[in-house]
């Protein structure tokens, strides 16, 4: 109780700008020469990244689902003259399990030797969180327990007695509501106190073990202490070794643990082996004396202890709320009747809003960047008598490609990303996974694959990294290979533009927006269908195996902070992605201009390429221009459409003998692009197959590289690259064949 008052007393200071200036200085990623290292650990979805952002001023992605952060990231801040480096770790349920992100978290606390470990917990699920806290305190007592989400707890009639908790755990306890930055001052002071104190801290230890277990553990502990006297957590290590912890045994063999001994950093292999050999031998010998359910007993013990502590520290106000919004919402989102229709309508609505809403700003940007600024630059260049090839290279090549990318990409992204982020913060994504798991199970895949897919709708490279939340290697590989079938933001603009120009044009104007949105939704759904088919195919052939275990936490619904989310998603996702597109568009524009203007045998290189690829293009129901565009756009899908447009202009120009090839003639509005494409030979078939081919082709270079980094396998990288392109060729060729029949 008293701690609530404490934190609200500080709150006045905290919100005062003078206070902030005097004490906390957020330094972003500038983490050099820090005095102390602070690790943020804890259960998934407890607000670690939110706290990280509050401390460092960075914008690490947060999201209302477990497993949002899968790799560690660093930032720093200055508080009272000390510089702190902060590490945001992935969430973990315990220190024993073996998924990749859990190992990252554990190894950092164990081997990275942080000066302070902040264990972030969820006030509404304190008991389960304490299970991890107790394990953490076992490996590092220089810790703070941060009970976050107290605002949510309050709403649910839960109060946390921080003093009782601190007394029981032996470490400081701070109550926070990180999203509103409540309690950050308390947290900072607690971090400072632990960081500067030289005294050893006596944290609570769990393991007053039953006699039959205690003796062997103690014996091994004595061994470890003898061989590695400066290791701070020898009892924990003893228990883990007796429990057959493979990764720790490996760490010991490779000398990671002995490195923690002061003065042992450069020790030779011989010494390492002498230490570790003895310890492992002893462990093997002692294992025989342990009861069979040794492991279970340890875990149960921890939970019993956690239960006891939680009972004292958590005060629940008696009355249960009559109306529970969470249950009500789940009744809708997960109901057999409404679950799927609501899901479909929600996503269809998002796409429709993106398409309908992007039209006007796209046309506006296009008018300015291409219709006004471009001629202005050209006239200026002429007046300054800049040689044609110089102004051509920069203005008609690099500038124009970039202008096109911006006007085609920025508006849809600026609408889609904020909406998606709002949905993510709300907590809807895990519900989609829950609804669809059965289908994934039938395909032999993991239910969480759906979440990696949804990350893929933003960016496939991000989707591939997100597959770390899937524990089983087989199912993770399936998720990686099929992630490309989630249309990424680099491909949305192609879908949207072609759908509006060709499919929307088939129906009366007032229906155009709706129909083109449905066409895009159709392509996206086809991608989902392909995901199932390919997953099923893989798990019945090269990646044979049973669908493994699946556990998914459904977080509470959280009302997103609207403006904050909007701002963040524009800055982080939209501008970030746009920046990437621009970085690729600049050189691509230069390449396009060059291949359009360098002549071989009286004909530009590009035209040779187009002529050469035209028959292949015809066979696929596409054309040579599109294929050349896809070759130029291998680095990034974003620039396919601009490349197509520029190449069409070039060819038309060349035919008209207007000279100065590779420049758009004055298409002053975005609608006239349709005419331009039709003049370039585009038909309805070309449009449909372009949309399909954009869905089904090789991943972009960044994604391919990410797949290689994540799988560390050339073979699977090749499969992920060539499987979709082969499939794309097959699908488009078949459609072209039937279309012409």
């Amino acid at each position: 109780m008293s701690s609530f008052n404490l934190s609200s007393a500080h709150k006045n200071c905290e919100t005062c700008p003078v206070h902030d200036k005097l004490n906390l200085q957020k330094l972003g990623i500038n983490a050099q020469n820090s005095d102390f290292i602070v690790a943020l650990a804890g259960n998934p979805n407890t607000g670690k990244s939110t706290i990280f952002n509050a401390l460092t001023g960075l914008r690490q992605h947060t999201g209302n689902w477990t497993g949002k952060t899968v790799s560690r990231s660093e930032g720093s801040f200055v508080f009272h003259d000390h510089k702190y480096k902060v590490i945001d770790l992935p969430g973990t349920y315990s220190l024993i399990s073996s998924s990749l992100e859990e190992e990252i978290a554990r190894n950092f606390v164990l081997f990275g030797k942080p000066d302070v470990t902040v264990i972030v917990t969820d006030a509404t699920r304190l008991e389960r969180n304490l299970n991890l806290v107790l394990q953490m305190l076992e490996i590092s007592s220089r810790a703070i327990v941060c009970v976050n989400l107290i605002d949510e707890a309050k709403k649910n009639g839960i109060t946390i007695d921080a003093r009782a908790l601190s007394r029981d755990l032996g470490v400081p306890v701070v109550l926070t509501a990180a999203r509103d930055e409540t309690g950050m001052y308390d947290l900072l002071s607690a971090i400072e106190k632990i960081a500067v104190s030289e005294d050893p801290i006596k944290a609570r230890t769990i393991f007053d073990l039953p006699a039959d277990i205690a003796a062997p553990v103690h014996e091994l502990e004595v061994h470890i202490k003898k061989e590695l006297p400066n290791l701070p957590n020898s009892k924990w290590l003893a228990i883990r070794l007796l429990d057959n912890d493979v990764s720790l045994t490996e760490a010991l063999q490779q000398g990671e643990l002995t490195k923690m001994q002061p003065g042992e950093a450069g020790s030779s292999k011989g010494i390492k082996n002498r230490y570790t050999g003895k310890i492992l031998e002893a462990a093997d010998r002692l294992k025989a004396r342990l009861p069979k359910d040794f492991h279970d007993k340890i875990v149960e013990r921890t939970f019993i202890e956690a239960g006891k502590i939680a009972e004292k520290a958590v005060i629940k106000s008696g009355e249960k709320r009559k109306f529970n919004l969470d249950i009500f919402l789940d009744k809708i989102f997960i109901s057999p009747l409404f679950g799927y229709p609501v899901m479909f309508l929600l996503f269809a609505f998002m796409f429709w809003l993106t398409i309908a809403g992007a039209n006007v700003p796209s046309a506006f940007l296009y008018d300015i960047l291409v219709g006004t600024v471009h001629p202005f630059l050209k006239t200026g260049a002429d007046q300054l008598q800049i040689p044609w090839w110089l102004s051509g290279f920069f203005i008609d090549g690099m500038y124009l490609a970039t202008a096109w990318v911006i006007s085609v990409m920025l508006p849809p992204m600026a609408i889609f990303f904020p909406m998606f982020t709002l949905l993510e913060d709300f907590g809807y994504l895990p519900r989609v996974a829950f609804n669809m798991d059965s289908l994934f199970k039938k395909a032999g895949a993991h239910g969480k694959q759906v979440m990696t897919m949804m990350m893929g709708f933003g960016c496939n490279a991000a989707g591939v990294v997100a597959t770390r939340i899937i524990d089983s290697p087989r199912e993770r590989l399936i998720a990686i290979i099929t992630n490309n079938f989630a249309i990424c933001n680099g491909r949305w603009p192609t879908q949207i533009l072609i759908a509006s120009l060709f499919i929307g044009a088939l129906v009366p104007a007032h229906l155009a927006g709706f129909v083109s949105a449905m066409a895009v939704v159709g392509v996206a759904l086809l991608g989902v269908l392909l995901t199932f088919i390919i997953s099923w195919g893989l798990s019945n052939t090269v990646l044979k195996g049973q669908a493994s275990v699946f556990s998914l936490e459904l977080p509470p619904y959280r009302v997103p902070k609207f403006w904050q989310t909007l701002y963040k998603s524009i800055i982080d996702r939209t501008l970030f992605v746009l920046w990437r597109a621009v970085v690729f568009a600049l050189p691509a524009g230069a390449v396009i201009w060059l291949i359009s203007n360098i002549q071989i045998g009286g004909m530009p290189v590009a035209e040779h390429m187009v002529d050469f690829l035209d028959p292949v293009g015809w066979f696929l129901g596409l054309n040579g221009i599109i294929l050349v565009a896809y070759i130029v756009a291998i680095p990034a899908n974003e620039i396919v459409i601009p490349t197509v447009l520029m190449l069409i202009v070039l060819l038309t120009d060349a035919q008209n003998h207007t000279g100065n090839a590779g420049v758009i003639f004055e298409t002053d509005s975005i609608e006239s692009l349709g005419t331009l494409l039709r003049n370039g030979g585009f038909t309805l078939l070309t449009a449909i197959n372009l949309m399909l081919f954009s869905l089904i082709h090789n991943p972009c270079s960044t994604t391919i590289y990410t797949i290689f980094k994540e799988t560390k396998s050339v073979k699977w990288t090749m499969v992920s690259t060539f499987l979709p392109i082969a499939l794309g060729i097959l699908v488009t060729a078949l459609i072209a064949m039937f279309w012409r029949m």
């Binding site: 024993i96 509404t124 008991e127 279970d296 149960e300 679950g339 699946f550």
Partner: protein, 95 residues
């Protein structure tokens, strides 16, 4: 394998108690008795981490539209498990 299941079921029906988590329907509550021995390794550990340890109170909250997976309320969290895992958890029903 098959016979094992029948045998176990038969015995539990004699006890007059529903005995597997997967057999509960939404709205029902139980305490966890044990995790079956054929659930080992990472799978067992994960279930225990999430709070499926002997003595924990568990309530069935909802089923997915395809009736699998099912979401359980345990130790304050809402956890979805597939049927083939829930059937490895033995329980004692609570009235």
């Amino acid at each position: 394998m098959m016979f094992d299941i029948f045998k176990r079921k038969g015995k539990e029906i004699l006890d007059g108690s529903k005995a597997l988590l997967s057999e509960l329907i939404p709205g029902q509550t139980a305490t966890i008795k044990s995790i079956s021995d054929d659930c080992q390794g990472v799978e067992r550990q994960r279930l225990m981490d999430l709070g499926f340890v002997p003595g924990s109170l568990v309530e069935v909250e909802m089923r997915s539209p395809w009736s699998d997976p099912t979401a359980y309320r345990i130790k304050g969290g809402l956890i979805a498990l597939r049927k083939n895992q829930a059937c490895k958890i033995q329980i004692c029903p609570v009235q």
